[in-house]
Assembly symmetry: C3
Homo-oligomer: 237 residues x 3
C-alpha cells in the first residue's frame, strides 16, 4: 500500500494529497477567461479539483461520497491514460460550488475516502483488478458511469483487458444485475487503457454478489500471470 | 527474453500464459447481456480471449496462425496503449467459435506461436523495433492490418516514431512492395503510441527483402540512441 | 538532467540525438508511395524528422527556432502519449524543404536547441511541470499551439492534470494575457496524457510574468506531492 503523504504546502488553494499521487485544490474565483476555455457544462466561480496519477475508480467513488456530503456538483470527470507505467488511468475531477468552503469540503472528503476506495484495488507486476460498490450511487457515479442515482452500483475492472473480459462474464452470470456499460481499449470508453471495465446496477445484494464472484475469479487469473496480487488498502466489499 | 511462465490456475476458463504478460481464456457460453454490451460484429456464444500487456503485432501474427489452424473466426482485435511504460501497445484479441474446443485450440496455438512471433521484436531503453512476416496472410492480419488474405504480408514498426518514419521509407525503397497502411501517433492508427507502423504486401520475396532492409537500418538507428537492441526471442525473418 | 549522447551512427540519414531520447534524421527523397500514405498537408521530397520519447513542448519550441533559422516548413507535429511511464508526451515533428541540406540544418538546430528548451521542464516522482516562452512565435508554435506568428507566446503544462488546472488559473490572473487554447485529458487536446496545458499570447512582458507566476505556484504544488522537482537543464524564462 502506497502511504498517504500530506506534505506541507503554503498555497491557499492547496487542500491535501492522497493515495495514487492524488492532489486536491480549490479555486475561490476561477478566472473567467479560463472558465470559458475549459468548456465545462456548467460554470461555477468556485471549483474543487482532485486529480491523481494512479486511479480513476477510487477517486470517482470517493467523489461520489463527497457530492452526497456537501453542497457541490460534479462538473467534469476526465480519465487520462496513466497509472505511472501501469495499465490503467489517472483522474481529473472538478467540483463546482457557490461557496468555496463547500468545494473545499468536497475535496477534503474525497481525499479522505481514497483510503477506503483503494481497498479493492489489487495489483501485481502483470496488471490490476478493481472493484467498487455503493448501495446508493450519486452524481459522480452517474456522470462517469451512467449509474442511476440512488440505486446500488458496481464497477468491475480487469487489466490486462483479457482478464477484464473474463470477469465481466463472471459478474453478470453470478447474480441478477443489469449491465450499464462496457469499456474496452478500442471502444472509446477507456482512453486506450489496457482494461475491460463493466458497470452494473441492480438490487444491492445482487450487485455485491456479482462483484465478489468477479473478484474471486480475477485474483486467480491475475495471480496466474505474476503471483500474489495484494489489495492497496483494506478490502471493503 | 522474458520467460514464458505458465502458472497453475484452477479456473476452467484458463488456457495459459505467454510472453509479454499475455494470458488466454475461453468462455463456453458468454452471457447474452455481456455479448450485447461488447458490440462484437458477429456474435458467438463460445469465445477465445488472448490479451497481453506488451505486444500487439506478435499476438496478432500468432492469432493469424491460430485462425488458419482451427475452426474459429477473429471477432475483434483491440490495441491498448501499453507495453508497461514502453512506447507501444498491448493487445486484446477475441476468437469466436461454435464449439468451445475450437476456441480453446485457437488460444493454445496463439500462446505457443508467441515464442516465434516475438523473434523480430528488438528493444533497448530508448525504444523498440518490430518486424513481422507471413507468406500467406489470414483473417487476423486482414482484420488488424487490412492484409489481403492468402498473400504475403509484412509489418514494420519503429519506436520512437521518428525511427519508424525512417524505416518505412527504407522498406518501400528496398523492394517492390505495396503500402497497405501507415499508422502514426496522431492519425488514429496507433492509440497514440510512440510508433510509426507500416503495412506492406506483395510478392513474398519482395516483402521479406523490404523487412530485412528496414530491420538493418532500424537497428543502427535505435542503437545510436541507447546501445545494443536485442531480439526478444529468436529472429525468424 | 539526462545527458546528451550523440552516438556514432553510420546511416547517411542520421543527424543526431538529444535530450529525451530524441533522434533526428533527414530523407533526401522520400518514396512517393510512403509520402502519399503519410497524408501530409503539403508534400516535400526532402524531409527532416525529429522525434523523442520524452517531451513535446521542448521539441516544438526547438523546432520553432529551427524554422526561423532555415529555409524549411513544418509539415506535421504529432504528440504520442509517452514520456516512458511518465504523465506526458513524446513527439514526432516533420520539416519539409526543397533542398535536403535545409532539412538537415533544421534538424541540427532543433537537436541543439533542446538543451535550452528543456530548461523549464521540472520533474519528480509524482509528475512534471513545463514552461515555454518565445518573444516571437514562428510556424511550429503556430501549427502545434495556434500561436499568432511574430507575437510573444507562452506554454504552461502541469501533471498530474489537477496541478495544471491550478497553474492555468494562476497564469491568467497574473498578467494581461490572452488564452489561445486549453488542453485536458478528455478534451482531445492531449492524446489522453495526465496534463492540463494552457497556451497564452500577449505583450512579451505579460507573457513572461504569467509564466513566472505559474511556475512558482506549480513548483509548490508538485513538491507537496513528492519533494524537490529539479529543472532538466538550466531555466531560461
Amino acid at each position: 500500500a502506497e502511504p498517504c503523504k500530506p506534505s506541507y504546502c503554503g498555497l491557499t488553494e492547496f487542500v491535501g494529497t492522497g493515495i495514487g499521487n492524488t492532489i486536491g485544490f480549490v479555486i475561490a474565483n476561477v478566472d473567467s477567461q479560463l472558465l470559458e476555455a475549459m468548456k465545462l457544462e456548467k460554470n461555477y466561480r468556485s471549483i474543487g479539483i482532485v486529480g491523481g496519477r494512479t486511479g480513476a475508480g477510487p477517486q470517482i467513488m470517493a467523489a461520489d461520497e463527497a457530492v452526497k456530503a456537501t453542497n457541490t456538483e460534479i462538473v467534469s470527470i476526465e480519465l487520462p491514460r496513466d497509472t505511472e507505467g501501469g495499465a490503467g488511468h489517472g483522474s481529473l475531477i472538478i467540483f463546482g460550488s457557490e461557496d468555496v468552503s463547500d468545494a473545499r469540503r468536497a475535496v477534503e472528503v474525497t481525499l479522505k475516502e481514497l483510503e477506503r476506495t483503494f481497498g479493492d484495488v489489487y495489483g501485481n507486476d502483470a496488471g490490476h483488478l478493481e472493484f467498487q460498490y455503493t448501495a446508493r450511487a450519486s452524481f459522480a457515479c452517474n456522470k462517469a458511469f451512467n449509474a442511476p442515482v440512488g440505486k446500488a452500483f458496481g464497477l468491475i475492472v480487469g487489466a490486462p483487458a483479457a482478464i477484464g473480459v473474463l470477469i465481466a462474464d463472471t459478474a453478470v452470470k453470478a447474480a441478477n444485475v443489469e449491465v450499464l456499460g462496457y469499456g474496452s481499449p478500442g471502444n472509446g470508453g477507456t482512453s486506450h487503457s489496457n482494461e475491460v471495465i463493466l458497470m452494473v446496477c441492480g438490487d444491492s445484494g445482487a450487485v455485491r454478489q456479482s462483484l465478489i464472484a468477479a473478484r474471486e475469479v480475477g485474483l486467480q487469473a491475475l495471480e496466474a500471470l505474476a503471483g500474489t496480487a495484494n489489495a492497496t488498502t483494506t478490502p471493503y466489499i
